[in-house]
Symmetry: C2
Subunit: 268 residues, 2 copies
Amino acid sequence: MSSSGTAPAYRRLTVDQRRTQLIGAALGLFAHNPPEDVSLDDVAATAGVSRPLVYRYFPGGKQQLYEAALRSAADELEDCFAEAQTGPLTRRLARALDRYLAFVDEHDAGFMALLQGGSVVQTSRTHAIVDEVRRTAADQILFHLGFQPEGPEGDADEQGGEGEHSKRAAGKEGQRAGPRLRMTVSTWITVVEAASLIWLDEDKQPPLGELRDWLLDHFVALLMASATRDAETAGIVRRALDLEERDGPVGELARRMLPVVTDKGHLL
Amino acid sequence: MSSSGTAPAYRRLTVDQRRTQLIGAALGLFAHNPPEDVSLDDVAATAGVSRPLVYRYFPGGKQQLYEAALRSAADELEDCFAEAQTGPLTRRLARALDRYLAFVDEHDAGFMALLQGGSVVQTSRTHAIVDEVRRTAADQILFHLGFQPEGPEGDADEQGGEGEHSKRAAGKEGQRAGPRLRMTVSTWITVVEAASLIWLDEDKQPPLGELRDWLLDHFVALLMASATRDAETAGIVRRALDLEERDGPVGELARRMLPVVTDKGHLL
């Protein structure tokens, strides 16, 4: 990462650079090892610094370093869902999923330890960070469905001066999604998490592209099912379908569905 | 619970009865209060016994009592999914869901504390119990889809002498479900959990019957979506659809779907 290849970087980093370097080292270790197997000595060795230096930056020790690394990972994860509001919804979602799943692939053991719970470093603060990532993902999806995001973070952003220019503040005449639609979106985010954990547990099978397509199918299926019981969701779905392409995920799903329901006319 | 209404039950209970009574008192308290707010004094007072007596039965104190209460709740929860193998699959699942959701309704705070994590009494053992409930639920659903259950518990039951009479051992020619189908079922169980937590968080709205129907819709939608990519799932779905009734959940879902997709012929 340093611009000079040979000289030791020990003394030349600013406070912020050093902090970033230590968090990066911790994140790499926490990504691939259960938290209980990572020591401050490991972090110091990975960063090429002394243990006291790590403590100077993180007096709270491993717990503080874990939370800082988690905060950094959460920021990265939240960025996965930022996507331009153009084109078919499923194309946008496919790109967001590709980024999310690449993150899961890269931080495998850490992702698993975090979401499966029972780890020594988990506290109400770490749970709050994970919940914030989920809420941000839900906000982003609802935003692409034409709604103003939920949650205090969105309001804070608006008050913080970003105003109508904020990516999170815009929405269709300021309206908020109803409970059915919010529950559908939150549920799908849970599906993505659960499928990611199962994928890691099954030695990263099937290939990521297949997993992404399967999750997209499930998004469409869950949204369609909710649309049959909720007028608001039905309106959103009908508008979204107008943007979908014949050769896109929805068209392909619909055509693949036909042979499954052949001869099942007794249900209609 | 006692057969005599007035006389104190203190001295007349057997060891097993006393143990059951204490677990029942603990379960009632843990159901409606976060674990950190429940003390052994509360349990003793609720059971009408002394604190030392509670310690005599549970020398490990609150942690041991919590795990015993959780074990008891897990047994009850696993029973929710036991269902006769007759009639349309969605009717069987509806009955299992009714029982599961009644459990969630009854143990609201305890259910939330357990699944949301971050509680002081959670350990790898409590996580293992929760995972076992999930695995049992998945086994039961796969069993209704015609498959032999996964997991070591199923094998242990068979070796334990129940053999081919065991509810969990039977299966279509002993075959096991493929990874896609297992992932679909596990994913849906996560959907049920997530929706239950959201339902509790939203002050138990919508009414339980609506939540059950919505979860059934999602089961059908997830299974149909998976069927379009997996021959095994497609075969299962086609056989299951033969048993479904026109006025059942699948028929109703299909008919409610029609207006949503009207005029979307560009996708076919």
